[in-house]
Symmetry: C2
Subunit: 174 residues, 2 copies
């Protein structure tokens, strides 16, 4: 049994369409199957409705967005919840600030799908819009993404099945 | 034993300096003494740092502030936490929206200290500032406060000790 019963945050960072949310929900299922009953998926897009409405995509607003989700994750985690946070979180210092907020376990997972693969998946049509000139500031294309230097796991979703990615993170938790 | 083990939100609403935060912390202690180990105080002022920075005191911003704290409370409560939320939350429809977000137990407590008493306590000097013309939009003075119509408890902090107020809410939980 992994020592997550005291709560933990598993923070999935990566480009749009990297597969963060899919992996978060698959991990939530894996945790439920293993007997955990306090699991919460915090999705960056969902949080933008409830937590960070009004924030845009400037450096400063992205930072506030990430730190705000991080604060909520830390509240949940310190109350015994295993949080799966699926947030682009492009800047290293914001992710590090979120790690610092956590009294307990914090596991950073880089969902390191290459931008070419993400642009092909393009779940929300953002890459197409950027190419068409309809939007700018797309992380990994014309906006920065700073990969984690020392993440607890790096997942290559384009080279393995979702089950394999889940097992890889699972092993990193032990 | 009160049936709060599945999580709950105890929402303390009232004017500035009504005694909401004091009561929240006293209730947290009472819960801890009774054996609860997942307790979180969500204070409106603290939340303004972490959750709602940038929001002001317009009708719209107050509404967003209350609903955002309410959403976080609901996440915690559905994961088994007993949340003590200490938030002015002046508008009835915002508080009702927060109640609706909760799948489980939601207990609305009106900390009904009269404005004259609050203005004398004036913990943060807001009433003095309003009198001096330095601020406007002070809830209960020159900004609306809509008392709950059907709260689970109404606490008169100016007529009883803090221990008595705690016991009163405690009884309302049973």
């Amino acid at each position: 049994m992994r020592d997550l019963s005291g709560g933990a945050t598993i923070w999935l960072t990566g480009l749009p369409s990297a597969g963060k949310t899919t992996l978060a929900h698959a991990l939530a299922k894996r945790l439920a199957d293993a007997g955990y009953d306090r699991i919460e998926v915090l999705d960056g897009d969902v949080a933008r409705e409830h937590l960070t409405k009004g924030l845009g995509f400037s450096r400063e607003d992205r930072s506030e967005n990430v730190r705000r989700i991080g604060w909520v994750a830390s509240l949940l985690a310190r109350n015994g919840v295993v949080v799966l946070a699926s947030v682009i979180s492009p800047y290293r210092d914001d992710r590090d600030a979120v790690r610092q907020m956590h009294e307990g376990r914090f596991v950073e997972v880089h969902v390191a799908t290459p931008v070419e693969v993400c642009a092909t998946r393009d779940v929300k049509g953002l890459y197409a819009k950027q190419r068409a000139g309809e939007i700018t500031g797309l992380t990994g294309v014309d906006d920065p993404y700073e990969p984690p230097l020392h993440p607890e796991a790096v997942v290559h979703t384009h080279e393995q099945s979702i089950d394999e990615s889940v097992e890889q993170v699972w092993r990193a938790l032990s």
